[in-house]
């Protein structure tokens, strides 16, 4: 009789225990993963949201209250920014320099990374480490010698000075990222392509690059971010107003406006950040798509 009772009780107890364990597991997961993630999202998005809200406020409203939402939202600040003399040229400069500083480093680093990942040659590891040197040296310490060099070459205030410095700064980063991705492509797949008659270019084009595509996109995103946000070099190597990029123009906005207008500053900031955000969102989806469809499996 007692045995029968025990048999009936056990499943109920087991169910309760398992639901408790499930609850505990979920709570622990929330504490360890959910909470830090939520904090991170707030930490990164609040300043942007704050700037966006501030950009919609009246010029003097920002001094009067500390509220998050604007009293009567207006796009006046954006109109002011778009009317600034040279704003279109700065956007053009930023886009041009970023495009060049993304495509050229990607091409160079795809070739370099393929060599580092697949060919065994003397001093390979040391060379790869030397690639990092430009990233290790503080950028500020390069400014004076670079300015000197570029002045002697007569390149100050030209696009070339930005191309050269931006490309040189982006190549090491993207090469390092791509070496890792290329190495993760199984060697047998490439050997199989070799037997199938693909030469080195075809292997890279039809096999390696499509498989390591998320890596290429990751490197591209970082190159775009580096190029778009770069400030130190453009500050040191460009003096003409017409050659400025958006971050530099934003920096000089305060001096050029005369009157403090935080709504305009914030509108300028939002307009500077927006293109980058759009690129991020578009490319991020592509990376996820290629992972989901099994390109990296």
């Amino acid at each position: 009789m007692s045995e029968t009772l025990n048999h009936q009780e056990q499943p109920v107890l087991g169910r309760e225990r398992s639901s408790l364990q499930h609850y505990l597991r979920r709570s622990r997961r929330f504490l360890l993963i959910g909470l830090p993630l939520a904090f991170l999202v707030i930490w990164t998005s609040v300043p942007i949201l704050w700037a966006f809200m501030a950009s919609l406020k009246e010029p003097l409203e920002i001094y009067e209250s500390n509220t998050f939402f604007p009293r009567s939202p207006s796009l006046e600040a954006y109109q002011t920014v778009l009317a600034i003399d040279g704003f279109g040229k700065w956007i053009f400069n930023s886009v041009l320099v970023t495009v060049v500083a993304t495509i050229v480093p990607l091409i160079l680093s795809i070739l370099a990374a393929y060599g580092f990942a697949r060919y065994f040659f003397r001093f390979r590891h040391i060379l790869l480490l030397l690639y990092l040197v430009p990233r290790i040296i503080p950028r500020v310490s390069l400014i004076v010698p670079l300015n000197d060099l570029m002045s002697n070459l007569g390149l100050i205030n030209t696009y070339w000075v930005l191309y050269i410095t931006y490309i040189a700064s982006a190549v090491p980063l993207s090469t390092w990222i791509l070496v890792g991705f290329f190495k993760s492509v199984p060697k047998e797949i490439e050997e199989s392509a070799t037997i199938d008659g693909a030469n080195m270019w075809n292997r890279l084009r039809y096999v390696i690059l499509p498989i390591a595509w998320p890596g290429v996109v990751t490197a591209a995103v970082l190159c775009i971010r580096e190029g778009w946000n770069e400030f130190a070099f453009v500050l040191a190597l460009v003096t003409e107003t017409g050659m400025r990029t958006l971050p530099y123009a934003l920096y000089t906005l305060r001096d050029s406006m005369g009157v403090q207008n935080f709504a305009v500053y914030n509108a300028f900031t939002i307009l500077t950040v927006l293109p980058l955000l759009i690129v991020y969102l578009l490319l991020e989806r592509r990376v996820v798509e290629s992972i989901v469809t099994g390109a990296v499996k």
Partner: protein, 358 residues
């Protein structure tokens, strides 16, 4: 001009200071199915990769269809290779995987379509052509890998442990499929495996390798029945052969081997043996049987492993462990005493010094 289609002559290979192949000589006839078998690290995969052109040759010569291919690039050797990991292009559909080599060689589109259709129908892939490799089962991926080799219409198929990643049941099925494919195409095939069952069941000719050398070449049963040395004797067969060191003793017109523990094991005749000659007495587990009478060797059973269609048994023979098989159901339990009969017609005798068959 000789009979061989693929020939290795004094082939040597080393990685840095480590020598992995020490002068391989082998001739493979056209249309034959040759299996290279041996333990991990014996150099069998390296030999296959050298045949494919994926590893450079240090010295020696490889020829395919009477043409030395040492410096010929892989695509021009007339070979196709199936890898252990399948090495399918993960971003391409099955159809694109199958047609990749033809596209690379700039074949006409109608020829590509025909070849893909043909391979897909032989390997039952017709309904899967638009799928990505990630959406296929292990067996289907294996078939795609074979199909990719098939469309190239190679002179020689190379298989590098192609069934290692499959589960036991699928492995048996694919083994039969590969064998059937070979019978259908009659293409020369070199197949690398460490699985002796695959070697025995699939090969026309088995090449047993060890430590960068060929130990023995021959038909599967020929090697099984007459292993040339201790390594081959021990490597082929599961459970492996009993190898018992002892010395020859002659009695009253009879001959026997006295083991180190003093037990006498029967020999069929004196042959060329000398008295007191040191010897290794080899007997396969299936050639030892439980004896009904008490004239056999007295042993104690130590392990009984029923495998369904046969029973694997371990016995203690005065301190020496003997492995044997019984196809009859065995009701005995470990610890039970029993008697064994040895089929002396099936003995293998080896020289302990050289390891060679006597």
């Amino acid at each position: 001009m000789n009979n061989s289609y693929v020939e290795f002559r004094e082939l040597q290979k080393s990685f840095g200071s480590t020598s992995v192949l020490h002068g391989i000589n082998l001739q493979i006839e056209e249309g034959s199915f040759v299996v290279l078998v041996g333990p991990s690290g014996c150099g069998k995969s390296t030999l296959l990769r050298m045949t494919a052109g994926l590893e450079p040759i240090n010295s020696g010569q490889i020829s395919i269809a009477d043409r030395v291919v040492n410096r010929v690039p892989p695509k021009d050797r007339g070979i196709a290779m199936v890898f252990q990991s399948y090495a399918l292009y993960p971003h391409m559909s099955v159809a694109d995987n199958l047609s990749f080599s033809l596209k690379m060689n700039k074949s006409p589109l109608d020829r590509i379509a025909e070849a893909v259709k043909g391979a897909a129908s032989i390997l039952q892939l017709s309904t899967l052509l638009q799928r990505l490799p990630g959406q296929l089962s292990g067996g289907q991926r294996q078939r795609v890998a074979m199909g990719r080799a098939l469309v190239r219409e190679p002179a020689v198929f190379l298989f590098d442990e192609p069934l290692s990643n499959l589960d036991a049941k699928l492995r048996v099925e694919m083994r039969a499929e590969i064998k059937a494919l070979h019978q259908r195409l009659s293409a020369t095939t070199i197949y690398v495996t460490h699985d002796q069952i695959e070697a025995m069941t699939m090969a026309d000719k088995v090449v047993v390798m060890n430590d960068g050398r060929i130990e023995q070449v021959g038909a599967p049963l020929e090697i099984y029945d007459r292993p040339e040395n201790l390594f081959v004797a021990e490597f082929l067969g599961s459970p492996s052969m009993n190898l018992l060191p002892g010395k020859v003793v002659f009695g009253d017109g009879t001959a026997a081997v006295e083991l180190e523990n003093g037990v006498l094991l029967p020999l069929p005749n004196k042959g060329d043996l000398q008295s007191d000659q040191k010897i290794i007495y080899g007997i396969r587990p299936e050639h030892i049987a439980l004896a009904d009478d008490e004239n056999g060797l007295a042993i104690t059973l130590t392990l009984v492993e029923p495998a369904g269609w046969e029973t694997h048994l371990h016995a203690d023979l005065a301190g020496v462990t003997l492995r044997f098989l019984s196809v009859d159901r065995v009701n005995a339990r470990p610890g039970d005493p029993a008697h064994l009969a040895i089929d002396t017609r099936q003995l293998h005798l080896f020289d302990p010094e050289t390891g060679r068959r006597i």
